[in-house]
């Protein structure tokens, strides 16, 4: 599988604090890759480094092009980033949020809106509702819907399960998998819940204090002694 996204020796720092120490990883075309790790391991920072939201060293290559730019230029290349806390525009309506997802594209967005509504039919009835009044799970789904409107080749999702009920989490993971299988969208998933993310992903990386300490197929990692002890809890 050709690498769609490749990080080579990526460093990142917030002021004097170094958050990533030479992270190297790849996401293949049509693959779901999970980033596992404890709080502060550098998962979110890895996504932010790809999007250009943090000062970084090293090389990030997306679809054979080196990424150097600002978040807005990265978004225009076909990377959708659903940040931690969802990045929902709570002052705007549901429909306006979806329209913003397609901001970088010209022409009609009806076909994309249909795709999103097929996955989340309830969004259709709430088009004119203020997004801030949706429940947490609904906002997370809206954020994923907004990312789909971008028609990305790579979808980066940060902690989609944070603070949500197990049933809602299951629904969100189902949607991510469906999106990947039906549309071939590659997914880079950051998630604390190792069990869920290993179940949905093809491959996974384990981060500890800003370094990749373990990488492999998700099935194998699920059997790995250390992962089982530290992250799966049995």
């Amino acid at each position: 599988m050709a690498a769609l996204l490749e990080l080579r020796d990526v460093d990142a720092r917030y002021g004097p604090v170094r958050a990533l120490h030479g992270v190297t990883l790849t996401v293949g075309e049509g693959e779901i890759v999970a980033l596992l790790g404890a709080n502060g391991a550098g998962k979110t920072t890895t996504l932010r480094a790809v999007s250009g939201m943090v000062r970084r060293g090293g090389t990030v290559v997306f679809a054979d092009r080196e990424l150097r730019g600002t978040p807005e230029s990265v978004a225009r290349l076909g990377i959708a980033h659903v940040p931690e806390g969802r990045g929902t525009f709570s002052e705007l309506t549901v429909w306006e949020n979806l329209r913003l997802g397609a901001f970088t594209r010209h022409g009609s967005i009806d076909a994309d809106a249909k795709r999103v509504l097929a996955l989340f039919p309830w969004l259709g009835e709430r088009k004119s509702q203020q997004a801030g009044t949706l429940s947490g799970g609904e906002q997370q789904m809206l954020a994923i819907g907004r990312a789909m409107m971008q028609r990305p080749r790579l979808l980066m999702v940060d902690e989609p399960s944070l603070g949500l009920a197990p049933l809602v989490v299951a629904e969100i993971f189902r949607v991510l998998k469906e999106l990947n299988e039906k549309e071939g969208t590659a997914v880079l998933l950051v998630e604390q819940n190792a069990r869920n993310s290993l179940a949905v992903s093809h491959r996974a990386y384990l981060l500890e204090t800003g370094r990749v300490v373990l990488a492999g197929d998700s099935d194998e990692l699920a059997q790995h002694e250390g992962i089982r002890r530290s992250y799966l809890g049995y």
């Binding site: 939201m53 990045g87 525009f89 705007l92 329209r99 913003l100 901001f103």
Partner: protein
């Protein structure tokens, strides 16, 4: 709480409206004063919305807004002195104001804004105020000029009330310009992007919105509204075309923006019209309120709003479930 708030504000506005309407039906003078007050109010409203646009996007009060408006008004005057008739000069000025406002943001604000401190930007706008006002005096001189008006100077008598066409035109133009702006924000893609950039810059970047460009555009649009306010003000009998002509107007516009809730363009419009009408009536009917006391009255109003209800009439009540 939010619903209760809405009722109180609604009742207050309804009471004001009834007061103005009933008063106008009772007395022709009252009606005339109300209309001329609303004309002033339209000017405060346009400049107030200009302040709100920039505040909403960057949490910065642009102290130079009035000076920029004065500058563009002089541009309009210059174009007309060169022989352009009113409306071509009017619209050309709006175009110049838009480009100028955008450039001012690019050149003077963006470099300072990168440092990320709101206070620094506010100080920069104060410097801009001095610079722009100074350059108006430098280019056009300090003497008072005569600004032509688009509307005939006579009045139209309807049911015993003499409505000044100048006043009615001013109300019409300022309200229309605000409505056009609102439609731009509400119905166009670029307007949506500007709102997104104002509310959530970080998230807007992630969907590909060039946030810093949106801020420049916002300054351009604010300058357009300021130009409308300036051209209307300079043609009104109460303001003369001179380098510091918008200083007083800016205070009323501040009062309108604050009373409206600082983040709400609709609030600034309603509050601007209200302040214009009420102050005009106050100055005419209450014998000890001399014209010199009207500006302090606007200050007092601002103070009261900030003390009692800082979110103003239309302050954004954030509805968010966590």
């Amino acid at each position: 709480m939010a619903a209760y708030n809405r009722y109180v504000v609604g009742a207050f506005l309804a009471a004001c409206a009834i007061f103005l309407v009933v008063g106008s039906l009772q007395s022709a003078l009252f009606a005339q004063l109300t209309v001329s007050g609303l004309a002033n109010g339209g000017i405060y409203a346009s400049l107030g919305v200009a302040l709100v646009l920039i505040y909403r996007a960057t949490q910065v009060i642009n102290f130079a807004q009035g000076a920029i408006a004065t500058f563009t008004t002089y541009v309009a005057w210059q174009l007309m002195t060169w022989g352009l008739s009113y409306w071509p000069a009017f619209f050309l000025t709006l175009g110049i104001a838009f480009v100028g406002g955008t450039l001012v943001e690019l050149i003077t604000i963006r470099p300072v804004e990168r440092r990320g401190n709101v206070l620094t930007v506010v100080i920069a706008t104060l410097g801009l105020l001095i610079l722009v006002e100074g350059s108006v005096g430098w280019i056009w001189g300090a003497e008072i000029r005569f600004m032509p008006s688009a509307f005939p100077a006579h009045s139209e008598h309807i049911g015993g009330v003499a409505f000044s066409l100048q006043d009615l035109g001013t109300i019409g133009i300022s309200v229309a310009s605000v409505i056009v702006l609102w439609a731009l924000f509400q119905f166009t893609k670029i307007g949506l992007a500007m709102r997104a950039a104002a509310f959530r810059p970080e998230a807007a970047r992630l969907v590909g919105v060039r946030v810093s460009w949106m801020l420049s555009l916002g300054w351009g649009l604010a300058a357009v509204l300021g130009a409308v306010a300036g051209m209307m003000a300079a043609a009104s009998p109460s303001v003369l075309l001179q380098p510091n002509m918008m200083d007083g107007v800016l205070i009323y516009a501040f009062a309108a923006a604050v009373l409206g809730g600082l983040e709400s363009p609709a609030g600034a419009v309603v509050a601007g019209l209200l302040i214009g009408a009420m102050l005009n009536l106050l100055g005419s009917y209450v014998s000890w309120v001399t014209p010199q006391l009207l500006l302090p009255a606007a200050f007092v109003l601002m103070l009261i709003v900030l003390l009692v209800k800082p979110s103003g009439l239309f302050g954004r009540t954030q509805v968010r479930r966590v």
